[in-house]
C-alpha cells in the first residue's frame, strides 16, 4: 500500500459504529454505507468483522472484555468468594452498560423481537456462561461429596437467565444512578447463593453416612 493509513483497531470501529447508530437513530443498512460515513476502508472493516451483525455481537463481547479487565485490576479479586466475584461481575458489567446506556437501549429496543436481541447477545452469553462455569467448577473442587456438587451446564445457564433478568430491570430503571439496579443485583445474587448454598445438605449427608455406618455396618 502506498499510503500508510492508521490501522483501525476493534475499539475504534466499534466506537464509530455506536456513534453512527446514535447519530442516525438507526443501524446502517450496509457495510458500504457505514464505512463511508465512518471514514473506514471497507477492506479494513472486513479484516475485523465479516458483517454488521457480527460487529453488533462484537460490541457486547467488548463490554464483557472491558468488565473482565476492570475486575482483574482489583488485586483482591482473586481472593474474593464466589458470591463476591459474581457480584463484582454484575456491578462492573452494568457500570459499563450505563456508560453506553443510550446505545444499549436503542439497539435492544430497536429489534423489539426478543429472538433478534438474543442473536445479538449470543457471544456475550457464551462469555457469561464461561465465567459462571469457572466459578462453579472452583466451588465444586472444594466440595467433597458428588451429590452436593453443582452441574456447571445447568447452573451457568441459570447465571445467564439472571443476567437477562437484571438487564430487563436496568433497561426500565429510572432511579438516580440506577441504584435500584444495584439493589436488584445485591438481592438476587444473595438469594441465589443462599438457595444453592447447600452446606446443610453437606451436613445431612455426612450425618446420614455416620448413622448408616454406626447402625448397619
Amino acid at each position: 500500500m502506498a499510503i500508510k493509513t492508521k490501522k483501525m483497531t476493534v475499539d475504534m470501529v466499534l466506537t464509530k459504529y455506536m456513534e453512527y447508530v446514535l447519530e442516525h437513530e438507526m443501524a446502517p443498512k450496509s457495510v458500504y454505507k457505514f464505512c463511508k460515513v465512518a471514514g473506514i476502508k471497507e477492506e479494513d472493516f472486513y479484516l475485523l468483522y465479516g458483517s454488521l451483525p457480527s460487529l453488533q455481537k462484537g460490541i457486547w463481547e467488548q463490554f464483557y472484555g472491558n468488565a473482565f479487565n476492570v475486575m482483574q485490576e482489583n488485586k483482591e479479586f482473586a481472593a474474593f468468594s464466589n458470591k463476591d466475584k459474581m457480584l463484582t461481575f454484575f456491578y462492573t458489567f452494568f457500570e459499563i452498560l450505563t456508560l453506553n446506556r443510550s446505545y444499549v437501549l436503542f439497539t435492544l429496543d430497536q429489534s423489539n423481537n426478543p429472538m433478534k436481541n438474543m442473536e445479538q447477545l449470543k457471544g456475550l452469553r457464551k462469555n457469561i456462561k464461561h465465567f459462571a462455569k469457572d466459578l462453579i467448577e472452583d466451588g465444586n473442587a472444594e466440595k467433597n461429596l458428588r451429590i452436593t456438587r453443582h452441574n456447571p451446564q445447568i447452573f451457568s445457564e441459570g447465571a445467564w437467565f439472571q443476567f437477562l433478568f437484571i438487564l430487563r430491570f436496568w433497561m426500565k430503571d429510572d432511579s438516580a444512578r440506577f441504584e435500584k439496579t444495584d439493589m436488584v443485583i445485591e438481592k438476587s445474587v444473595n438469594t441465589i447463593f443462599d438457595v444453592f448454598d447447600n452446606t446443610p445438605l453437606d451436613n445431612i449427608v455426612d450425618f446420614g453416612k455416620f448413622l448408616y455406618k454406626e447402625t448397619f455396618a
Binding site: 482489583n74 483482591e76 463476591d84 438516580a176 444495584d182 443485583i185 444473595n190
Partner: protein
Amino acid sequence: MVRTGVKIGGNYAKYYGKKFVNPEMSKDELNEDNASDIYDGLKSLKGSALKVAQMLSMEKNLLPNAYVEKFSLSQFSVPPLSAPLVRKTFKNYLGKYPEEVYDTFEKDSINAASIGQVHKATKDGKDLAVKIQYPGVAQSISSDLALVRPIALRMFNIKGKDSDKYFKEVEDKLVEETNYLLEIEQSQEITEACEKIANLKFPQYYPELSSEKIITMDWMTGQHLGEFTKTSFSQELGNKLGQTLWDFYMFQIHGLKKVHADPHPGNFLVNEQEELIAIDFGCIKEVPDSFYIPYFELAKKDNINNEKIFMETLYQLEILVATDSPSEIKFFKELFHEMLSLFTSPFHEETFDFGNGDFWSTIADLGERFSSDKQIRKMNGNRGSKHFLYMNRTFFGLYNLLHDLKAKVTVNSFRQYLPK
C-alpha cells in the same frame, strides 16, 4: 402490612380464647405475640422503618416490655452490604475505590448502623471509621413510613387528620439523617461548640474523604456506653460521666438551641481515660423559641403549679386546643400536670439522683396506668406540638442513660458553659 393487621386481631382472639380455658394467660404473652408479628412485619424493611422501630424502642417505660424486647432486636438484624457493593458505592460517590482512598480498608463491616454500616480503615497512620449508607434508603423512606403508619397509629392511639404533622416531622428528620453531608456539617458545628465541656471528646471528621453516602471520621477506642453500664463502675465514675452527659445536653438545648436527638447507648463510648465520646450526629433537632420558651417555663416549679400560667402554656404547646370540650380540658389538664410535673422534676432541684428508683417507678407506674386507662384509649392521643416527638425522645434517652449510669448530677452546672 395487611398481614400484620389481621394477625394482631388474631392474637387478641387467641388471647381471649385461651383466657377462657386458662385464665392465667398473661397479657405479657399477648403483648409478646403482637410484638413479634409487628416485628416480623418490620424486619423485612431495612432503613427508615428500622429507624422507627428503634425510636419506639427508646421509650422503654411507656411501652410494654414485650414490645421493647422485640424492637431492640431490630437494631441488630440488618444484612451487611456485600464487599463489591461497598466498592461500587465508593466509586459512585468518591470517584475512587476504597483502596485508592485509604492505606488499608477492611472489606467486611465492623457493625451495622440502621441506615448504613461501619468499616475500619487506616490512612497516614490514623485509624479511621468509615460509615457507608445503604443505597436506596433515602428514596424508600416515604414508602416505608406509609407501611409502619397504621401500626404507629394503633400503638399510640392517634386519631384524626391532624396526625399528619407528626408523620411529617418523623419523615423530615429521617430524610435529614440520610444526608451525610449535613451530618458532617452538624457534627463539626456541635463538636466545635461543645469543645469546652469537661471530660467530653469527639472524633474528628474528614469532609474531603466523605460524600453524600460516606462519612470518614476518627476511629474512637472505647467501650460502648451500653456495655459500660453493665460493668461494675464506681459511683464516682458514674456521676462524672453522667454530669458530662447532662452538661452536654443542657448546653446544646439552652446554648445552641439544637440538640443531638438520639441519646442511644450505641452513640456514646467511654474511653480508658474515663472520658465520654459522642460519635453520631445524624439526628439533630432544632428547638424553635415557640417551643423552647413555653416548655422551659414549665421547668420552673412555680409556673407548673400556677394554674393560670400552666393553662396558658398548655395552649401554647398545642396540648389543649380551642375546640376542646370542658370535660376534655379537665381531663388533659390533670393528666399533663401529672406527667409534666414528673418529667420536669429534675429541673426543680439543685442536684438530681437519676439512680434513684422512685423517679423511675413513678414513670413506669404512670406509663402502665396510661396504657390501661380506658378513658385515655377513647380520647384522641393526637395532642401536643410536633416538637414534642423528638424532644421527648431526647429527654427519655438522656434520662435512661443517666439512670443506667446511676448518676447524681448537679442540675445547673451546665450554665458555666453558656455565654455570659
